[in-house]
């Protein structure tokens, strides 16, 4: 087996692919090495739900034969990856991070897994998730079969959730990329806390077939990776219409950096108060420096307000009603009591009592939110805000702990909820540190503008190296 040095654990997809095509390493080498690394180090971060070393090596050996025959399938060929354990891989457990489903096995692959297999990517493991993607409202990071997701930058801190495993595994160089999911914050939060580049696509762009549904009208699958370019390469493979997903938008995505709009002149809406008051003091210098990089790249910043809506009330009603319907049997049978987090158990039970009129009201307000964002994106091209205002929290800190004093101006503090309600894509870009913990920006765009977000991300990462930093002891 070829010697695989530490550099390859933190290589981009293109860097790995170049070595594969140059025959410096084989796909089987990569599969064995990453699967082994994931098995050994994944538990350190509670990131691993299920290792798949044998099937990964079998698949990779087939890939090597193809490469030898000259049949190339693109840059993801032979690249190992992991998926959040709410995405099915046929014949193997898909636990949804939850005790009631610990033995659950599906006999089919999720569409994203099928599509990645078709280009020769190698699935090496299932990665941990907060139980049921945390929709009932969990209070503690320990709300998972694998325990609290630990941050590779400081294992006394949370990796974030609900895509805890994908974020930690990519940050620690256990897999080159991973597929996670977001209903409201579950890609943006762990990517920000772990210092990983990640993309939440436009609602409907990536098929959810084979992924656990938490909220039909809000769930999205998206990549965690080493760079914005990697996210683009992955999205091109996993995006596209799917008749098996009722929410599929029927849009394809082609990663076209060569035709991308120039970053110079992009109008970025932002709220200064986000960076000067909402952001934790230790994080402010990093955010300020990141905005300077974007400004020097020619991005024009315009002070902007979010449309005025009760985003929290709307999104919690939508998620609450939809998840209560999805998990009705779990709740009414009493098996919900097997979940780990008491707040989540109570939230799921209470959500059975959401009146239909309230859900309809929330969905009507949502129509207004969509229209308001359509108007807003006539004035700006993107919205820029911190991914999270503070770095990762201590493992045992209650997640509903009051922040204490809040700035009077809300700024874009509701951006995660607002953007998810409007189905908008977001790119998370690591942009520095607060102490020893990463912080990140989120760049939100209009629907189906992922190429523009990725162009901004590529430009930012051409002038910084935050996305290439490595946690200690990895």
């Amino acid at each position: 087996m070829a010697e695989i040095g530490n550099d390859l654990f933190f290589a981009t997809i293109r860097e790995l692919n170049e070595r594969l095509l140059a025959r410096e390493v084989s796909a089987a080498d990569l599969a064995r090495t990453f699967a082994s690394r994931l098995q050994q180090l994944g538990p350190r971060y509670n990131a691993l739900a299920l290792a798949l070393p044998q099937q990964a090596v079998r698949k990779a050996e087939e890939t090597d034969k193809e490469i030898k025959r000259g049949r190339t399938r693109g840059p993801l060929q032979g690249i190992p990856y992991g998926v959040k354990d709410l995405i099915s891989f046929g014949g193997q457990p898909t636990t949804w991070g939850a005790q009631p489903y610990a033995g659950q096995v599906f006999d089919y692959d999720a569409t994203v897994v099928t599509r990645l297999a078709s280009v020769g990517a190698t699935l090496v493991g299932k990665l941990s998730t907060v139980e049921l993607a945390g929709g009932g409202g969990y209070r503690f990071a320990s709300a998972s079969l694998q325990g609290p997701g630990k941050n590779p930058w400081d294992i006394t801190k949370w990796s974030g959730g609900s895509s805890s495993g994908p974020a930690a595994a990519v940050a620690a160089g256990l897999v080159p990329f991973a597929i996670g999911s977001e209903t409201s914050g579950s890609i943006v939060t762990p990517a920000s806390y772990c210092g990983v580049t990640a993309l939440r696509p436009t609602y409907g762009l990536v098929s959810r077939h084979g992924a656990m549904a938490l909220s039909w009208t809000l769930d999205k699958l998206g990549p965690f990776a080493r760079s914005a370019e990697d996210c683009g390469l992955i999205l091109q493979v996993i995006a596209g219409g799917d008749s098996n997903d009722p929410g599929s938008a029927g849009h394809s995505f082609y990663y076209t950096p060569q035709y991308g709009r120039a970053v110079r002149g992009v109008r970025a809406g932002y709220a200064p108060v986000d960076f000067s008051q909402w952001a934790e003091p230790e994080a402010r210098p990093a955010f300020a420096a990141a905005l300077d990089v974007l400004k020097q790249s020619g991005v024009e910043f315009l002070e902007t307000k979010l449309p005025d809506f009760p985003y929290g009330a709307v999104i919690s009603t939508v998620i609450g009603a939809e998840e209560a319907s999805i998990f009705e049997e779990l709740i009414t049978s009493g098996r919900v009591d097997q979940l780990r987090d008491q707040a989540q158990i109570a939230g799921l039970k209470a959500n059975l009592e959401i009146p239909a009129l309230a859900y309809l009201k929330a969905m009507r307000v949502r129509r207004l939110i969509q229209e308001a964002f359509r108007d807003l994106f006539g004035k700006v091209d993107v919205l820029v805000s911190p991914g999270r205002f503070s770095p990762a929290t201590p493992l045992d800190q209650p997640l509903d702990q009051d922040r204490g004093s809040r700035p009077q101006d809300p700024g874009m503090s509701a951006l995660i909820a607002a953007a998810n309600l409007a189905g908008l894509p977001a790119l998370v870009l690591p942009c520095g540190f607060a102490g020893n913990l990463p912080v990140a920006l989120q760049i939100v765009g209009a629907p189906f503008t992922e190429n523009m977000l990725l162009a901004i991300g590529r430009e930012f990462q051409a002038h910084t190296d935050w996305n290439r930093r490595r946690p200690p002891q990895t």
Binding site: A313, T317, A343, R364, V365, R367, L368
Partner: protein, 63 residues
């Protein structure tokens, strides 16, 4: 409302006592009640949002 010095001292002492008392884990019943209370507050906030009569729900949700 103007507080007397005695009332102010009493309020501050009560606050200090609360800060020193560790939070007790809630019973499942208390958690459920807290969830219901939170839901009630959410629905009140939602009900305050005006929606034109002609606005349809975002069921055909294609951004």
């Amino acid at each position: 409302m103007k507080l007397t010095r005695r009332e102010l001292a009493s309020t501050l002492a009560a606050g200090a006592a609360m800060a020193q008392t560790p939070a007790q884990p809630r019973t499942p019943e208390a958690e459920l009640q807290a969830a219901r209370d939170q839901l009630k507050a959410t629905l009140v906030r939602l009900s305050a949002q005006a929606v034109p009569m002609t606005t349809e729900p975002a069921f055909q949700f294609k951004p």
